[in-house]
């Protein structure tokens, strides 16, 4: 099981993953990390130094909107949800990812 650090995972891809997770509903930072780890079957264990900068960057760009609320542990935590723009960006990112992987796969298969 490889532990992905910041260097390996391209920045755009991390954004895509986070947006995808938030698509299903709003979540706080730890929750996002857990979900990603779960979805990747343990392969993706994000360092907080990777996750939070990405979250703040997307917040600055207006893709996600933060809100403070009580978490399941009765702890005050910052929840994020997708904005309209975020939803659009998610679609765009997904499409370009599909295109990219499709092209790469084609080339690798035919080479």
């Amino acid at each position: 099981m490889t532990i992905m650090s910041k260097i390996d995972l391209p920045q755009g891809t991390l954004d895509l993953l986070v947006l995808r997770v938030l698509n299903s509903g709003e979540m706080h930072g730890w929750g996002i990390a857990q979900r990603l780890e779960l979805l990747s079957h343990g392969a993706l264990k994000l360092q907080e130094g990777t996750l939070y900068p990405a979250l703040y960057r997307m917040e600055a760009k207006g893709w996600i909107v933060p809100e403070w609320a009580q978490s399941e542990n009765n702890r005050r935590a910052k929840y994020y949800r997708l904005s309209k723009i975020g939803r659009k960006r998610l679609e765009e990112a997904q499409q370009s990812w599909d295109r990219l992987t499709g092209v790469v796969a084609t080339v690798l298969n035919n080479a």
Binding site: H28, G29, W30, G31, A33, Q34, Q47, E48, G49, Y52, P53, Y56, R57, E59, A60, K61, G62, S71, N73, R75, R76, A77, K78
Partner: protein, 902 residues
């Protein structure tokens, strides 16, 4: 659009920094808490859960740091951080920073002031439209020592009408009017001008109109155009100024125009430069006689012309020469003196005429301030290098701790930039103040003094200098960042890291250059200083001790007859002589170092043979008999004027020794006769020579007397040569200026409407005449001193640092038994070696460069060895002192203290 939102977010974050920090801390803490809770749920105990959570999290602070970077302008905040750090550095090392700022301020200030002068005088266009087409047209009598002189009306008419090169031309005369409008009578400078004056210069009145040709006729010429400042001051800027009257010299002039504010009126006088601006302009009416050939020798007016486009000065000069040749052919027989004198016409550009004397000085000064800047840069470079070395340990430590080299470089750069910015700002301020000072001291004597100012171009230049030096020095400390491994600096311990060889070489080169440049400037200022002293010792031919002079003009309307004038002067002098404190008093028409003399041809008649032969051209002065005694002009033969030389007696004349030697070599001139025609009947009589007096310098201490002088008694020729003004000369017992108020009162007791003006002591006048030598001397001495000061500071600072570096080594030496003297010698010789090399270099350079200085020198050659030896000794002495102080500190080092501490 994302970036726009990001920008907005970052901007808002600037103001919510604290809130954001709190939020981030809480969010991260919440993350940790969730992780701990999950761990506990998985079965770990409290302690294990915490540890595991923290391990997972990684470095909290680093995470925060990365996270922070997303929400702020990283570069802006880093800049602010750099600035804060830079200021902290300054407060820790105030001496060093102050040194750098001051040195830079002096250099930039000097350059700013000098550039303001050069730009205003040599580069900036003059304040008339297309002023580069304007020229002065002179007469010249080069062989008589009159390279440039005024012209006569017939000359003007010839040159205007018989040539093809001028689009427009004007003739004018300087006149001092007694203006009695307003509360008290005052002197007003005016110009009598042809109507073409305004169109030639290209400036029209803002109100009213210029003169018409009909008004330039005697009888119709009582109209005037006034200046803006006169309108504001005398008439309070009243709206119905046109048509009001102005009383000049007792007559009423109707005001028909007002010139724009700041209009610069040409005004020249050959004695020094007169920067008073004309306040009134009246028409110059040409009478029939004035235009006739008889008045050809009456050189009393100035001509300015505007060249046609495409006509060069040389072409115009050729045309004027042709006119002059034709005239010479016509008047050949009548004027031997013209040919002998080398008479001709000379054309000179307007700016050229004004700045030709000052240009060499300005260029030399420009070079001098350039040198100052170089010295200052060398100094600052040295200082910065030394300090960078001292900081190398600190810098290496920071690199080892993970600071990016680029970040460090940017910070060092910012530090230098801040210092240089402060120095530059202070420098511009200094430049402004020193220019004000220069203008106040010498503004009257600088040509075109009214237009010297700091304008946008000069400010731009100063800023450019500051930025240039800033960028340059910003890079100096970065040398120390070159090394790939900071370990070397860290290993050698303490701040006593000695510099690499290349840096030591650079430092030596810088000091040597400083010393060489300082020597060049010192030698130059020494030379000019000695020539000034030489000039002051030149004998003038008369006494200057406690002599007060004052001018007065008698208006022609009230004092029509010559008899009126002479009786006024006689009465005035009688009253003046009765004043307490006056040893003797007299009057003269054209004071030496005061007014240009009128000159005229003269004829000599031999007593024995009765044959008359033409002489040459002489200066004519009308004097009150007591003049020679008042001025202590020695009598060589014969006698002075006395009461016997009355209006009805035989006409007499006194000549000077120059004329005697020229026209009567080996003979006794007493009793011979001279005729000097003027336009009065008295002028055509033969005058008998009754005395020979010593020659007198009249305009320049530096030049020898080349023209003879004739003196006539006032009562015999009171109207001669149309000079209604005389200068009173008083020899005073006390400080002469104390008498000026009493003098004014005495005059006003006789005629209340007469002011005296141009009141100066003889010493002041002579000092004024030396301005063209004094101005460069003052400036060179000032800059030489600045260079000396900079060199000392530089030497001292560098040696102090070196001593500081080697404190440990010196401590060891002393502990091992070295004497204080040995330490002293060691340090001092280090500095002096460099000084001597610098002096030798400087001497060599000086010998090459100083011939450009020769035109400013008098009585001394540019390679005078005494001056160089003196400058070298001064520099050595001063350098020795600069080296001695840190050396003394080195010798006092307590080995016990230094060996124990870092």
């Amino acid at each position: 659009m994302d970036w726009l939102r990001q920008l907005r977010f970052c901007l808002f974050s600037l103001f919510r920094r604290r809130q954001l920090e709190a939020d981030m801390a809480e969010e991260m803490q919440a993350h940790l808490d969730h992780e701990i809770a999950a761990n506990r749920a998985a079965g770990m105990n409290e302690e294990e859960a915490h540890q595991a959570a923290h391990r997972e999290f990684g470095g909290m602070e680093q995470a925060k740091e990365h996270a922070r970077d997303q929400s702020r302008f990283v570069w802006l905040e880093q800049c602010l951080q750099d600035l804060r750090y830079a200021f902290r550095q300054f407060s820790r090392n105030p001496g060093f920073s102050l040194c750098v700022v001051l040195i830079l301020a002096i250099a930039i200030g000097a350059n700013t002031a000098e550039f303001a002068l050069t730009h205003s005088l040599l580069i900036k266009p003059l304040p008339w439209p297309q002023a580069d087409r304007l020229v002065y047209v002179y007469n010249t009598a080069a062989n008589y020592g009159w390279p440039l002189g005024p012209i006569s009306v017939p000359d003007y008419l010839d040159r205007r009408d018989r040539t093809d090169c001028f689009a427009n031309a004007t003739l004018f005369k300087t006149v001092f009017f007694n203006c009695s409008s307003g509360s008290s009578p005052q002197q007003v400078l005016g110009l009598q001008v042809t109507p073409s004056f305004f169109s030639t210069l290209g400036v029209a009145p803002i109100q009213g109109r210029p003169f018409t040709d009909a008004e330039a006729v005697s009888g119709k010429d009582k109209v005037t155009v006034i200046s803006y400042s006169l309108w504001q001051k005398q008439f309070a800027g009243s709206d119905d100024i046109l048509g009001s009257d102005l009383h000049l010299d007792g007559e009423s002039y109707r005001i028909i125009g007002v010139m724009p504010e700041g209009f610069l009126s040409p005004n020249i006088s050959l004695f020094g430069v007169n920067n008073l601006n004309a306040q009134v302009w009246t028409p110059y009416a040409f009478t029939k006689t004035a235009m006739s050939d008889q008045w050809r020798s009456n050189w009393s007016s100035w001509m300015i012309a505007r060249l046609k486009t495409d006509v060069t000065v040389e072409q115009a000069q050729t045309q004027v020469d042709i006119v002059q040749q034709r005239n010479a052919a016509r008047f050949h027989s009548k004027s031997v003196s013209r040919q002998e004198g080398g008479f001709g016409g000379v054309i000179m550009g307007y700016r050229e005429q004004n700045v030709q004397h000052i240009r060499p000085t300005l260029l030399i000064l420009q070079a001098a301030v350039g040198l100052i800047l170089l010295i200052a840069c060398a100094n600052i470079g040295n200082l910065m290098l030394a300090r960078t070395i001292a900081r190398s340990r600190e810098l290496s430590t920071r690199i080892a701790l993970g600071c990016g080299r680029l970040r460090l470089a940017r910070q060092l750069f910012t530090e230098s930039l801040v210092m240089v910015a402060a120095g530059g700002a202070l420098g511009v301020l200094l430049g402004y103040w020193s220019l004000e000072l220069i203008l106040r001291m010498a503004g009257q004597s600088l040509p075109l003094g009214q237009i010297i100012a700091i304008d946008n171009t000069v400010v731009g230049f100063a800023l450019l200098l500051a930025v240039g030096t800033g960028v340059f020095f910003g890079f100096v400390p970065l040398i120390s960042l070159r090394q790939p491994h900071p370990s070397k600096a860290l290993r050698y311990g303490g701040t006593r890291v000695s510099a690499g060889k290349s840096i030591a070489m650079m430092r030596a080169v810088l000091i040597v250059t400083e010393v060489a440049l300082a020597l060049i400037l010192l030698a130059a200022s020494g030379l000019t200083l000695r020539s000034l002293v030489n000039l002051h010792h030149v004998p003038t031919g008369f006494t200057t001790d406690r002599i007060l002079t004052a001018k007065i003009t008698l208006p022609v309307t009230e004092y029509k007859a010559g008899h009126d004038r002479s009786s006024f002067y006689t009465e005035a002098l009688r009253n003046i002589r009765a004043l307490p404190g006056v040893i003797s008093a007299s009057a003269i028409s054209h004071l030496p170092f005061g007014d240009e003399s009128i000159s005229s041809d003269y004829t000599i008649r031999d007593q024995v043979s009765g044959k008359s032969s033409p002489g040459r051209n002489a200066q004519i002065k009308i004097v009150d008999p007591a003049y020679f005694q008042t001025m202590h002009i020695p009598l060589r033969r014969g006698r002075f004027f006395s009461a016997t030389d009355s209006a009805d007696a035989t006409p007499t004349v006194i000549i000077d020794r120059f004329l005697a030697q020229r026209c009567f070599p080996g003979r006794d001139p007493i009793g011979q006769q001279i005729k000097c025609p003027d336009r009065t009947p008295a002028g055509n009589r033969w005058c008998t020579i009754v005395g020979v007096v010593g020659e007198v310098k009249t305009a320049s201490l530096a030049k020898d007397v080349v023209k003879e002088t004739l003196y006539f008694p006032l009562v015999q020729r009171p109207g001669a040569f149309i000079a209604p003004s005389m200068t009173f000369v008083l020899k005073s017992m006390v400080e002469p200026t104390a008498l000026s108020a009493t003098l004014q009162k005495t005059i006003q007791q006789i005629d209340p409407s007469l002011p005296i003006y141009d009141v100066h002591t003889m010493d002041e006048r002579i000092a004024d005449s030396l301005t063209e030598y004094r101005a460069p001397t003052i400036l060179l001495v000032a800059f030489g001193t600045a260079a000396l000061a900079l060199t000392i500071m530089g030497l001292y600072a560098v040696l102090a640092y070196l001593v500081n570096q080697r404190t440990r080594e010196i401590g060891i030496r002393i502990a091992l038994g070295a004497q204080a003297r040995a330490i002293l010698t060691m340090v001092v010789s280090q500095g002096m070696k460099l000084t001597v090399i610098g002096i030798v270099l400087g001497l060599t350079a000086s010998f090459g460069l100083n011939r450009y200085l020769q035109s400013l020198l008098f009585g001394i050659t540019a390679n005078d060895p005494m001056t160089y030896i003196g400058a070298a000794c001064l520099l050595m002495g001063v350098a020795a002192v600069a080296c001695y102080l840190p050396a003394r500190r080195a010798a006092k080092v307590d080995p016990a203290v230094t060996l124990r501490t870092e």
